[in-house]
Amino acid sequence: MTYTLDRASVLIVEDMVPMAMLTKRILQTFGFTEVHIAHDAETGFELFQKHAPDLVIADWIMGDMSGLDLVKLIRRDPLSKNSYVPIVLMTGFSHKLRVMQARDIGVSEFLVKPFTAKDLYTRIMQAIEKPRQFVDSGEFFGPDRRRKRAQNEYGGPKRRYDDGG
């Protein structure tokens, strides 16, 4: 059994036309058939409202309105079609502070460019298989910024009575 990606839709928001087309071709090779493209964040939000995609892949740095502005709109605009949609943010930035900045705006996954097809697939699979619960703290609305660890990942001393420690 494999994913039936042709049942889901994706919106790509990327101002560099060849990059948007390349990302679309990669997604089509994976099996997606409904892929919408916008070349600026404003049009991206319009298409988001029109098509209500199941996944958004956006570039960070675009014209007047950035990918982060788009994430804010999708997450916080009262008219947003789906505030909980998984959003993958693509960017050339790889510095930890930048990743934290994106996470604090409500990005689901971060994809550093240049990327491989496997990198993109991994982020999509993460959105499908391990979506995080959402937090609304008033100041922040988005996926929980603490990614849950599997219980058996803990390597420290066991101190609880139940653990036999």
Binding site: M1, T2, Y3, T4, L5, R7, A8, M16, P18, M19, L22, R25, I26, T29, F30, G31, D54, L55, I61, Y84, P86, M90, T91, G92, F93, H95, K113, P114, F115, T116, A117, K118, L120, Y121, M125, A127, I128, E129, P131, Q133, F134, V135, D136, S137, G138, D144
Partner: protein, 155 residues
């Protein structure tokens, strides 16, 4: 603080099982074979960067111009390797690391940017896509040496 577990509509639609490895390989080939004439984008970026450093009359560039330069270098780093110019991504990454430690854009940093611009021009004019050849290696060495000198002085 409120917590919510939204309905996973993406999972409901696509089901389980992942995608076959062979499809990922084919997607990697899509990237490898992508030819968009990236040289013209390099030339455009070179023009923009030349304008940024040419129009400034003081020794230090303003923060706005610093950000514009970072944006250009970042764009080259992000897209070079995606469009068959891994050398462009590698060189741009070196320069971005210098921007990380640079407090301001002074004459020394502008010198590095000039070397970077010359490197990009050479790469675009001569279609030097990777560092696995003599020309690519010497370009990379020249820029790395300039970056090394900067790090020694300021790092």
């Amino acid at each position: 603080m409120r917590f919510a577990t939204p309905k996973n509509t993406l999972k409901e639609k696509v089901g389980s099982g992942g995608i076959p490895e062979e499809r990922i390989k084919r997607a990697e080939e899509v990237i490898e074979k992508c030819d968009v004439g990236f040289s013209s984008y390099i030339h455009k970026s070179v023009e923009v960067m030349c304008d940024i450093i040419a129009t400034e009359h003081t020794d230090d560039l303003s923060e706005t111009k610093r950000q514009l330069l970072i944006k250009e270098v970042m764009t080259m780093k992000a897209h070079g390797k995606m469009f068959s110019f891994p050398l462009v991504s590698a060189l741009s990454n070196e320069v971005l690391q210098i921007f990380d430690i640079a407090q301001r854009v002074n004459a020394d940093l502008i010198d590095i940017i000039k070397v970077y611009i010359q490197s990009l021009q050479l790469i675009a004019d001569n279609q030097i896509q990777s560092y696995n050849n003599e020309a690519g290696q010497s370009i990379a060495e020249a820029l790395c040496a300039a970056c090394g000198r900067y790090v020694q002085k300021y790092g």
